[in-house]
C-alpha cells in the first residue's frame, strides 16, 4: 500500500563517511526499515566508493546524495572564481552519485547555505541558473536528477518558498531538475505545508521530513496530517526522508553552520525508529482519509 520510499539522512547516524561510518550508517538505516539513505557528498577522488556500493547492495537499500554549497563554493554569486569552485564541486558530486549508483542529488545546490548579509541580485541568480543548467546536462547523461531544496531566510537569500523555486526551475528549463521540499524550512516561510505541496505541483521530487525544531518527528509544531493528506491528493509517490540533527552526532563545524545549540536527542536509533513509525502511520492515515474526501 505504501508507495513512497522512506529514507533517512546519514547525518542521523554519522558525521563523516569513513569505511566504518559508512557501514554503521547503511546497516543501521536498513535495520530500522528504511528504503533509502541520503549520503552527504564526499570527494570521489579520495573516498572508498566500492565499499559504499557493496554495503548498499548487501543491505538492499538505495542511496541518494545531498550537498550544500558554502561561501567559498557559492554559485549564487557575481564572483567568477567562487562560482567556478562551486561548479567543480557540483560536477564532482555528479561523479560521486554516478559511481555509487545514486539517481538523485538534492540540497542547497543553487546557493551557499549561509546567513547572507545582503539580498540576492539578478546577476547572482542568473549565474546560479547558468551553472545548474550545465550541471543538469552532465547529470542527465548518467540518469541523475538534481534537486533544488529551498531553505529558510537564514540559510539562503535566493530560494525561500516553493513558488520561488518553481519559477527558478522553470527558468532553468531542464527536465531533470526537481523541487525538493523540506518541512523544517517550509515551516518558517510558507502559508502551510499543504500549500507548499500545491505550489510545487508536478515539480515536487523529494521531501525532507524534519520537525519544526529539527528533533523527533511529532514533537513539534508541524501539521504532518495536513501535509500527508495533500501528498495523497496530489498523488506524490516520491521519497520522504527523515532529517534531524543533534550535535551528539554532527561534527561541531556542521552543527555551527545550521545553528544546532541544543541536542534534541542522544540516541540515533530511537530517533530513526520513531521517525519510521511516525511516517508510516501518517501515510496510512492519509490513505484512509483521502478517498473519503472525494
Amino acid at each position: 500500500m505504501t508507495t513512497n520510499p522512506l529514507g533517512i539522512h546519514a547525518g542521523v547516524w554519522v558525521g563523516d563517511w569513513t569505511d566504518d561510518s559508512a557501514r554503521y550508517a547503511i546497516e543501521s538505516s536498513a535495520e530500522a526499515g528504511y528504503d533509502l539513505i541520503e549520503i552527504p557528498a564526499v570527494d570521489p577522488r579520495t573516498a572508498n566508493l566500492a565499499h559504499t556500493v557493496r554495503l548498499l547492495a548487501e543491505n538492499r537499500i538505495d542511496a541518494v546524495v545531498s550537498l550544500a554549497l558554502d561561501a567559498s563554493t557559492d554559485i549564487n554569486t557575481e564572483d567568477a572564481t567562487v562560482s567556478e569552485r562551486g561548479e567543480q564541486l557540483l560536477s564532482r558530486t555528479v561523479d560521486f552519485a554516478r559511481d555509487i549508483g545514486a539517481r538523485y542529488i538534492g540540497g542547497v545546490t543553487y546557493s551557499a547555505m549561509v546567513k547572507y548579509t545582503q539580498p540576492a541580485t539578478d546577476a547572482s541568480r542568473a549565474n546560479s541558473l547558468a551553472v545548474l543548467g550545465r550541471i543538469a546536462a552532465k547529470a542527465k547523461l548518467s540518469g541523475i536528477s538534481i534537486g533544488v531544496e529551498y531553505v529558510n531566510r537564514y540559510e539562503s537569500n535566493l530560494l525561500n518558498t516553493a513558488a520561488q523555486t518553481v519559477r527558478f526551475i522553470t527558468d532553468l528549463g531542464a527536465d531533470n531538475v526537481l523541487l525538493h521540499l523540506d518541512t523544517f524550512h517550509a515551516n518558517s516561510e510558507e502559508l502551510s505545508l499543504a500549500t507548499a505541496v500545491r505550489d510545487a505541483g508536478d515539480l515536487l521530487g523529494y521531501i525532507h521530513a524534519s520537525e519544526s525544531h529539527r528533533g523527533h518527528l511529532g514533537t513539534g509544531i508541524l501539521d504532518f496530517p495536513g501535509l500527508f493528506r495533500q501528498l495523497a491528493l496530489s498523488g506524490y509517490t516520491g521519497p520522504i526522508t527523515f532529517e534531524s540533527f543533534s550535535s551528539v552526532i554532527h561534527p561541531r563545524a556542521t552543527a555551527n553552520t545550521i545553528g544546532i545549540w541544543r541536542d534534541p536527542w542522544t540516541d540515533p536509533a530511537l530517533a530513526a525508529r520513531n521517525a519510521h513509525a511516525f511516517l508510516s502511520a501518517q501515510l496510512a492515515a492519509a490513505a484512509l482519509t483521502v478517498p473519503s474526501i472525494h
Binding site: N160, S188, S192
Partner: protein, 291 residues
C-alpha cells in the same frame, strides 16, 4: 475590551528614526489605533530623544524600546573589550529608553542579533549574567524593567526557548528582569504555543506577535488561538506588540541582519490596521470561554 495595551513595531512604517520618519511612525501608529509604539534602537544615533518624547506625549502614545547587540559589542563574548562595548551600549540604550518616557527596555539584550558560528561558552554566559545584573540594578533604580526576548537559533545562541530564558533570568536574579515571548521565534524553537506560556507564567513581561513568515497575521499557520488562550490562562495583562517585516520597508542594517529578502506587503499603515483588528478579535475571543 482588552486589558492588554496593543503596540506596533516602528519598522512596519519606516526603516530608520530620522525626525521625519519618527513623525510618520507616530502619526500612523495613532491613526491605526494602537496604544504604544516600539522603537528599535539600532538607529539610535539619529534619534532625537526629547523631540520624540514630546511627539509621543502629544499623541498620547506609550513607548517600548528594543534592541539586539552586535558582534563588536556583545556581552556574551569571551573578550573583555567586546563585553565592555556591549555593556556600554546597553547602558546608553537604557538611558534613551528613559529619555523617551519608556519604562520597558527589551530585546536580545544578552547577545548580538545574528548567526553565531559557535555555541555559547561558559565564560560568555557568565559575562551575560554579570552585565545584566548591573543593568537590572540600574534599571530598578529608575523604576524600569528589562525584557529577555527569546530568539531563534539563527539570531542568537544564548536563549532559544522559554526554559533557557527562565534559567538565565534566575541567574541574573533581579525581579525586574522579565521574559519576552515572540510567536515568530516560538514557531521555530518551541514544541507548541501553550506550554512555554504556562512555564513562564507571571514572569512574562512582553509579547511580540508575528506570523511564521513575518507577514500579515492570519496569512500563515501560527496557532494564535492556542497562544491567546494560554495568555488568558496566565491572566497576562502586559503589552502585546505586532511585529512584521517586508523588503518594502528597509533598514540598511537591521533588514539584512534579520534576512528580510521577500516582499510580504507594501502598505505599512494598512498592514498595521489589519493587525490591530486581528489582535483585538483574537484577544476578545480567547476571553469568551464557556465552561
Amino acid at each position: 475590551m482588552s486589558v492588554n495595551k496593543l503596540g506596533v513595531h516602528a519598522l512596519v512604517f519606516a526603516g530608520g528614526t530620522t525626525p521625519a520618519e519618527v513623525e510618520y511612525i507616530i502619526t500612523e501608529t495613532k491613526k491605526a489605533g494602537y496604544d504604544l509604539v516600539e522603537f528599535s534602537l539600532h538607529d539610535s544615533p539619529k534619534l532625537d530623544v526629547p523631540g520624540t518624547r514630546a511627539a509621543l506625549e502629544a499623541a498620547g502614545l506609550g513607548v517600548v524600546a528594543s534592541r539586539g547587540l552586535s558582534f563588536t559589542a556583545d556581552v556574551s563574548s569571551d573578550d573583555a573589550d567586546t563585553v565592555a562595548r556591549g555593556a556600554a551600549l546597553l547602558h546608553d540604550s537604557l538611558a534613551i529608553t528613559e529619555g523617551l518616557g519608556g519604562t520597558h527596555f527589551t530585546g536580545a539584550l544578552y547577545s548580538a542579533l545574528g548567526k553565531y558560528m559557535q555555541p555559547l561558552s561558559t565564560a560568555g554566559r557568565a559575562n551575560v549574567v554579570a552585565v545584566l545584573k548591573e543593568l537590572a540594578a540600574e534599571a530598578a533604580g529608575k523604576g524600569m524593567t528589562l525584557g529577555l526576548e527569546i530568539c531563534n537559533r539563527y539570531e542568537t545562541n544564548v536563549i532559544n526557548t522559554a526554559a533557557d530564558a527562565l534559567r538565565l533570568a534566575d541567574d541574573i536574579g533581579h525581579d525586574n528582569v522579565l521574559i519576552h515571548l515572540d510567536s515568530y521565534h516560538m514557531n521555530i524553537e518551541e514544541d507548541d504555543f501553550t506550554r512555554p506560556v504556562l512555564l513562564v507564567g507571571d514572569r512574562l513581561g512582553y509579547v511580540h506577535i508575528g506570523e511564521n513568515h513575518r507577514g500579515y497575521l492570519g496569512s500563515g499557520h501560527i496557532d494564535f488561538a492556542a497562544f491567546f488562550h494560554a495568555l488568558q490562562d496566565i491572566s497576562y495583562t502586559g503589552p502585546i506588540t505586532f511585529e512584521s517585516f517586508s523588503s518594502a520597508v528597509v533598514s540598511p542594517t537591521l533588514s539584512n541582519d534579520l534576512s528580510i529578502w521577500r516582499n510580504l506587503w507594501n502598505d505599512g499603515p494598512e498592514l498595521a490596521r489589519h493587525a490591530r483588528e486581528y489582535l483585538v478579535h483574537a484577544i476578545d475571543g480567547a476571553s469568551r470561554v464557556y465552561s
